[in-house]
């Protein structure tokens, strides 16, 4: 039981965080103004940043 929970967390943890951050970014620019804009931009940049980071990281690992 506990082992299963761990694997669920391991598989879905990062996607869930990214999803929530994306949703937060989408809504903060819609409902807020002023400083909420840069907050939204930062939040929405995060998933793209994670993609770039992971690709870079694994490409380098291959070269080593």
């Amino acid at each position: 039981m506990k082992k299963q929970d761990l694997s669920v967390k391991k598989i879905w943890g990062a996607p869930a965080y990214l999803g929530m951050i994306t949703l937060f970014g989408l809504l903060s620019a819609l409902l807020g103004t002023g400083y909420w804009y840069p907050i939204a931009w930062a939040a929405m940049t995060l998933p793209l940043g994670v993609i770039i980071y992971q690709i870079n990281y694994h490409q380098k690992k291959k070269l080593v």
Partner: protein, 367 residues
């Protein structure tokens, strides 16, 4: 497979549409007179008079008092038929009231780049059937995202998040990339997909509203004839009454009596809020076109409110230029996810075909 082609079409045509305003302003710029920012709006009535003077045989179907650019557009046509081939617009400077441009009928205008992208993205040049078809494609898009999310679980059982096996076969590398790109952008893909489907439903939703709520309201006024255009009360007075009745809102369009999308007896004035979010929410108001008196402020039903909120969430035009750039980047990721999805599907099919061929071969060889 075929439907992936349509999804790619949607992603590719959507890309320039994110920057619709910028591209259109750049390709077809309007040069406005330089006037101080607080120059008041010109009276609307002389504009209407000028429109009638130029086209005495035609009717004014509606007016748009732009809140974005200092322009007022008057839409005219020989008849109120919604698909009148001669429907055209006159562009006035909102502050001076001077005519800027007498535009050709929409049907005779040369196809613009943005217009072409919009047709390919929204209705494939087929109006409602095209909208419904692409709406169906949108539903398939949403279903494929959900099935992708469901499949992500079993694929990632033995892998850490974000693993890309560059050192392994091309298929595994692209499988990992497809998974990483897809799961990291899943929520954006879902939001844009669902709101896209809702936007494609706008014609039926407004139609539903017309035959229910609007019909119910207009039944009270049944029997009176559509007033001739020279009998109409002052549009300027109606405009001012509307802005006075709804403080904090601005009127951006006025639908003239007789228009299919309006009332036979009223000016329908559409007002919207001034804050970024409330500016997406419209409130229509009926003003008696004979007496100039306010008849009714209409509350839009929930499904039209949903449609209104869906627009910005699909277009990405609500958070400044950086948000538009992010929208374009997410769209580019979506294109990669779609193409790699097709690639993986083809490769896997080939894998099984080869597998079965080999079994067949081995069986016949042992006999």
């Amino acid at each position: 497979m075929i439907c992936t082609l349509f999804l790619l079409l949607l992603c590719f045509t959507g890309l320039p549409l994110i920057f619709e305003e910028e591209i259109d302003g750049w390709l077809n710029p309007t040069h406005y007179e330089q006037l101080p920012a607080n120059t008041p709006r010109a009276n609307l009535d002389p504009l209407i008079k000028e429109a009638h003077r130029r086209y005495p045989q035609q009717v004014i179907t509606s007016m748009m008092i732009d809140d974005d650019e200092p322009q007022t557009l008057i839409f005219m046509a020989p008849t109120f038929k919604p698909d009148d081939k001669l429907a055209h617009s006159l562009q006035f400077d909102q502050r001076t009231g001077k005519l800027i441009k007498d535009n050709l009928p929409f049907e005779q205008q040369p196809q613009t780049f943005i217009g072409l992208m919009l047709s390919l993205h929204v209705d494939l040049f087929m109006d409602l059937p095209g909208e419904l078809f692409l709406g169906l494609m949108g539903i398939l898009f949403v279903i494929s995202i959900i099935s992708g999310i469901v499949l992500y679980g079993p694929f990632m059982k033995k892998l850490d998040f974000g693993t890309v096996r560059f050192e392994r076969s091309r298929r595994l590398k692209w499988l990992d990339l497809h998974n990483l790109l897809g799961i990291a952008t899943a929520i954006w893909l879902l939001v844009v997909g669902v709101t896209g489907v809702i936007n494609e439903m706008s014609t039926p939703l407004f139609g539903l509203w017309q035959i229910t709520d609007v019909k119910h309201i207009l039944d009270k006024y049944k029997g009176s004839a559509v007033p001739a255009q020279n009998q109409l009360t002052s549009a300027e007075a109606a405009f001012q009454l509307a802005e006075k009745t709804l403080p904090g809102m601005e009127v951006t369009s006025m639908v003239f009596p007789g228009n299919t999308f309006g009332s036979p007896y009223h000016y329908v004035l559409w007002a919207k809020g001034k804050e970024p979010f409330t500016s997406r929410l419209f409130t229509p108001m009926l003003i008696d076109a004979r007496s100039g008196k306010l008849s009714q402020i209409i509350d839009l039903p929930g499904y039209l409110r949903g449609l209104e909120v869906s627009r910005p969430l699909h277009f990405g035009d609500y958070g400044g230029t950086p948000l538009k750039v992010l929208w374009a980047l997410f769209d580019a990721v979506a294109i990669i996810v779609l193409i790699s999805g097709v690639y993986l599907w083809v490769v896997r099919r080939k894998f099984y075909e080869d597998y079965f061929k080999r079994i067949e071969y081995e069986e016949t060889a042992t006999v």
